[in-house]
Each structure stands twice: as structure tokens, then as C-alpha cells.
Subunit: 195 residues, 2 copies
């Protein structure tokens, strides 16, 4: 054996993730990264490869930590309709947190790199697919429970909800005014929550 690594991968990766999250890919330099991550260039390249690989690792971590937590609320046992409500309320709540980067790394990356970098695009597409799938399960569950009209197109509803979540992230980044976000969510939920 030999000298062990002095930093914990997930700890420094978290810091990189937040930096990409708030600044985007292109505007985040290696210099900026090593300063914020608290490690040296050599360690960064040794542990993660190059900038692009680090970015991918950051997206993966975002997926594992942030997105999965959100999606878990959609898959939580109980009412599918209530799960969808919780999802959007949680997003608004998160947008209010101080110190947290605005918006959403997936949304930002889709907007920044969606059409230019094939590999990133498919990675982002996979996450969007996961979100849509989770919405779809929640919608179907709600339909089976009689909370949503079973005649409605569950796939289309899931896609709509996915798109709405993206829109909400953009609005949260542009103007994180609580009243605005609440208005948006209220109307969005009317779509599935017709009384």
C-alpha cells in the first residue's frame, strides 16, 4: 500500500457540482475549481480526469443527491396526486434557500449544452427521462386511485409536468420571487387537480 488520498472524493465533488451549478460549464475554470474544491490541480486531474469528466461526475452526483431526493417524493407510497403536489412545493421551497445555487443543474446544462455537445445532451436527456418516468408512475397511480381521470393521456401529462419543472427552474433562476413561483405552481397543479 501507499499514501492514502487526503481528501474525500464526494466532498470535493460536491463543491465542484455547486460551482458548475451556479456558474455553468464554460464559465467555470480549473483555477476556480481547485480554489473552491480545496485541492490542487494535479489532484483534480488525478482523481477525475479532465474538466469534462469532472463535469460529468458532478452531474452524476447531482443526479444521485438532488434529483433522486426529489424523485423519491414522487415515488413515495400514498396518493400519486399528493406526491406531485409535494414535488412542486419542494421545488419552490428549495428555490428560497439561501446559499443554494439558483435554478437546477440539469435545466441549466440543458440550456447551455443541449444542442452543442452530443454526450452531455444524452446525459441530460437521460435525467429528463427519469423525471418524466417518475411523473408517469405518479400519474398512473393517481389514475388508478381515481384522483385523475383515467381517460387522460398519462404520458402527455408526465411530459407536461417535466416541462413545467424546467420552466419553474428557469423562472427561479431569473426571478426567485416567491409569489411568482407560487402562482406558477398553483396553476400547474390545477392541470392534474381538477375539482
Amino acid at each position: 500500500m501507499a499514501r492514502p488520498r487526503e481528501f474525500e472524493r464526494d466532498v470535493v465533488l460536491d463543491r465542484a457540482m455547486k460551482l458548475f451549478w451556479s456558474r455553468g460549464y464554460a464559465a467555470t475554470s480549473i483555477r476556480h475549481l481547485v480554489e473552491r474544491m480545496g485541492i490542487q490541480r494535479g489532484s483534480l486531474y488525478g482523481a477525475f480526469g479532465d474538466k469534462r469528466a469532472l463535469f460529468f461526475a458532478a452531474i452524476e452526483r447531482y443526479d444521485r443527491v438532488m434529483t433522486s431526493r426529489l424523485l423519491a417524493t414522487l415515488d413515495a407510497p400514498g396518493s400519486g396526486l399528493e406526491a406531485i403536489r409535494r414535488f412542486f412545493r419542494l421545488k419552490v421551497e428549495a428555490a428560497q434557500e439561501r446559499g443554494r445555487p439558483r435554478g437546477c443543474l440539469v435545466t441549466n446544462s440543458a440550456a447551455e449544452l443541449g444542442s452543442r455537445d452530443r454526450a452531455t445532451a444524452s446525459r441530460i436527456g437521460a435525467t429528463l427521462g427519469r423525471i418524466e418516468a417518475a411523473f408517469h408512475r405518479a400519474v398512473v397511480r393517481a389514475q388508478q386511485a381515481g384522483e385523475i381521470d383515467p381517460a387522460r393521456d398519462a404520458r402527455a401529462l408526465a411530459r407536461f409536468l417535466t416541462s413545467s419543472a424546467q420552466g419553474l427552474s428557469v423562472m427561479a433562476k431569473a426571478s426567485p420571487d416567491r409569489a411568482t413561483l407560487d402562482d406558477i405552481v398553483r396553476i400547474t397543479l390545477e392541470v392534474v387537480d381538477r375539482r
Copy 2:
């Protein structure tokens, strides 16, 4: 008098706008800009100032050309509800055009610079405000015509529609699949178009 400029400002500005639109701000270099715009560095700096000022001019032009055209459909005389329908159909249609940058410059810029650059954020915020205002006018018009229940909150509806347009732009950039976009728009329109 003296030697006249050899290029037309709006022509080269259009090219810069499209470049920023498809690549984002940070990933677009001056070298790339001068190549695509067909002018020299000196001319660029002479005519537009610096990169940031050029970006602002590009956003302004996008506003004047792209956004205004879209908003004009919302303010066109006739049914407010039909105007809203036309707006979203036009967005989907535009997303299909070949050679056109994906997504929307306003959405992309909001996601890329929304929380980092104060001046850009307020510029983008102003455009989002214009969109919301146009939606609001269309909603009110539809309410007065009895197409939308007057009891509903027109401001909230306008905000929802603005957010939906942003979401649609993100989805269009990430996966411009027509069926997906159609699904999203169909459900979005159900919100205002309850039968």
C-alpha cells in the same frame, strides 16, 4: 464626411445574435464572433464596444426581432384564447426549423447568467416581464370575451404561461422531438381552454 462603414450593423449583429443563441455567452469567443460576423476585431470593438456590450445588443435585437414577433401574435386582434394557442403552436413550429438555433436566447441567458450577472439578469427580467404582460393582456381579453372564466386569477395564469414557454424552450433544446413538444403544448393549453 469620411469613409463609410463597409458592413450593415444589423446584418452582422444578427449573426452575432445567432452565435450567442446557439453557444451561450461564455462559450462564444471574439475569434468565433469575428469569423461568423465577417468583420475584423477592430471593427467589432469600434461598432459595439466590448463583448458584453455586443451581447446586450444581441439580446436587444433578439427582443426586437424574435420576441416581438411572437408577442405580436398575442396582441393580434381577435380571440385572446386563440392568440395564446397560436403563440405555443408557433413556438413548436419554430423549434422544428432546420438551421435555427435550438431553444430561446432569453431562456438560455436566464439559465446561464440569471444569478451571476446583475445587469444581464435585469435585462432578461425585463423581457420576461414583457412576455408576462402580453400573456396577461391576452388572458384578460379572453376573460372579457367569456372564453376564460373571469373568476380566475389572470396574473397567475400569465405567470404560468410565461413559465410554460420557458419550460418548452428548455425541452426544445434538450430533445426537440415533435411529439413530446405537442404533448406539452396540448396539456398546457388545457389550462386556459377548459371545455
